[in-house]
């Protein structure tokens, strides 16, 4: 029986999911892979082969709770919860925005919220048009920064090239970020938006 000295980290908030196995004491990723959210479990299986770590070596699961794509987030959270339950190990939620910052200290992390908006941290978590982000002279990272490059650069922001690794959410940073900031969140998606049907009802209460 091996010591439970590894953590499984995964994030499916964006179109490029990330999975990693992090060694707990050294806080180092022993393996990390990218995945399509829909192929998450297959990539997790590859991950354990690559890392040569047994599932019994896991002492916990860390999962990115967004904000991000709703369906993908639910795939990640349902998978992570099941794994933690089956292995009887604790599970922790971490903000995907925190993982982005962990990979690009000092930057403004932006996640594409579609419909002309980004998810960001601005005192609190918000969903806003990129025009409303205070970015002058700052570095912006994340798929939201790439999607709204023109709007952000026009207002004085620096956005690295599309293939810059700092735009990618990395599960390894998720696990490290969880330890560093100690910001453990409930294991539920940070939706930030009500379902469309609710919003329509609010606007048209008679409907």
């Amino acid at each position: 029986m091996s010591a439970r000295d590894h953590v499984l980290a995964l994030d499916t908030a964006t179109d490029v999911a990330s999975v990693a196995i992090v060694e707990t004491t050294r806080r180092e990723a022993v393996a990390e892979l990218e995945a399509r959210p829909s192929a998450l479990l297959a990539r997790l299986d590859d991950l354990f082969d690559t890392a040569r770590v047994e599932k019994t070596a896991l002492g916990g699961v860390v999962v990115g709770v967004g904000p991000g794509r709703y369906t993908s987030l639910r795939i990640g959270l349902a998978t992570a919860k099941a794994i933690a339950t089956a292995l009887k190990i604790p599970i922790t939620g971490v903000s995907t925005l925190d993982a982005l910052v962990a990979g690009a200290p000092g930057a403004v992390p932006l996640i594409d919220a579609r419909r002309g908006e980004v998810f960001m941290h601005d005192g609190e978590l918000v969903c806003v048009a990129p025009e409303r982000v205070a970015v002058d002279g700052r570095l912006c990272v994340g798929d939201g920064a790439v999607a709204y490059r023109a709007e952000l650069e026009a207002r004085g922001a620096t956005v690295p090239g599309e293939s810059d690794p700092r735009h990618r959410v990395r599960a390894a940073f998720l696990a490290q970020g969880a330890g560093r900031t100690g910001l453990a969140l409930p294991v539920e998606p940070l939706y930030l938006r009500a379902p469309d049907a609710e919003r329509t009802r609010k606007e048209f209460p008679q409907a």
Binding site: Y70, T71, R74, A78, K81, A82, I83, T85, D196, R201
Partner: protein, 325 residues
């Protein structure tokens, strides 16, 4: 205990999990309905349903295990609905089941929801043995099936437009009964006189159904009435409307039995819960799914999984949800 089958269902607005034994005894059948949540929208809202499934999937599975006095190590197979249904909703149950299978090394069997409805007949002491002719009448489907073995079926008839359950739901809405309409219409119809109104039963070729005409006929009947008249006649309209649908279903299934030379008739799906329908089926000597197993549940999925091939790890890792057959 160690050869149990866990069934998980999240295709629409019920989060459901159940444990059955290897010989089909139901040990637990936990169903968390979201009906109340969707009622104010007048129907199932996919994003609302998906959110709720994620909240409920874990507590529902663990409650099913507790009620069965079992743990995951007693589970020899996990059956999960792969489709048809709302893809976002299906993905919650499917991802959870795949995660459990992979981490606990339990074989997985992806199940077709419609096969699940048929497999509700294979549970308990009084399990039905194929071959038989089966009517599947639910919220999304109305199918005449020839069931020759436990593992599948052949479709010999279907609906050209609305499903029977949908006809009940739409009729209920026209009568102002809210959502979900089928059970409400059933209750109201018991107090009404089914001979007061005649609603036409559409005649279509082959062994198919059509329910859009009967719904339109009800719409016209309702339109002719003012508030007070409608209040007076509501129960009679419900009873007459229900009779028209039940007659159409019975007529077709008897024709199908003749046509396919099958002696045993069985009915499954949410509409099989209808009390007037059940009474008529009893006089006919037809089999009908046990009441708690008519609408969506985990036991029927576990039952289908019992007869479905296990998918190897390499195969199930990539299993995806599908919205329609």
């Amino acid at each position: 205990m160690s050869e149990l089958i866990l069934g998980l269902e999240t295709s629409c607005d019920e989060t459901a999990a159940a444990l059955i034994t290897a010989d089909g005894a139901v040990l637990s059948n936990v169903i968390s309905s979201q009906a109340d949540l969707h009622a104010r929208f007048g129907g199932v809202v996919p994003e609302v349903a998906s959110r709720r499934h994620l909240e409920l999937v874990e507590p529902v599975v663990s409650e099913a295990l507790v009620e069965a006095e079992a743990t995951l190590s007693d589970v020899a197979k996990i059956g999960v609905t792969q489709g048809p249904g709302l893809v976002g909703a299906l993905l919650v149950g499917l991802s959870y089941a795949k995660g459990l299978s992979w981490a606990a090394q339990i074989p997985l069997a992806p199940v077709d929801h419609l096969h699940g409805h048929v497999a509700s007949l294979f549970l308990g002491d009084d399990a039905l043995e194929p071959p038989f002719l089966c009517l599947l009448a639910s919220g999304g489907h109305t199918l005449v099936l020839v069931v020759n073995d436990h593992a599948g079926f052949e479709v010999v008839g279907g609906t050209r437009d609305d499903a029977a359950g949908e006809a009940f739901d739409k009729g209920a809405r026209l009568l102002g009964l809210g959502y979900p309409g089928g059970p409400a219409l059933d209750r109201l119809a018991r107090t009404g006189d089914p001979s007061t109104h005649t609603f036409p039963i559409a005649r279509v070729d082959g062994l198919d159904f059509s329910f859009s005409g009967v719904k339109t006929a009800l719409l016209y009947a309702v339109r002719e009435l003012d508030e007070t008249a409608l209040a007076e006649r509501r129960a009679d309209l419900a009873a007459s409307y229900e009779l028209a649908i039940v007659d159409a279903l019975l007529q077709r299934i008897e024709q199908a039995a003749e046509h396919t030379h099958m002696d045993t008739i069985a009915v499954v799906g949410g509409v099989a819960a209808n009390s007037a329908f059940r009474a008529r089926l009893a006089t006919l000597g037809a089999r009908v799914a046990p009441l708690p197993l008519c609408t969506d549940n985990g036991a029927m999925i576990a039952s289908a999984a019992r007869y479905a091939p296990n998918v190897s790890k390499a195969g199930y890792l990539a299993v995806d949800a599908y919205s329609s057959r």
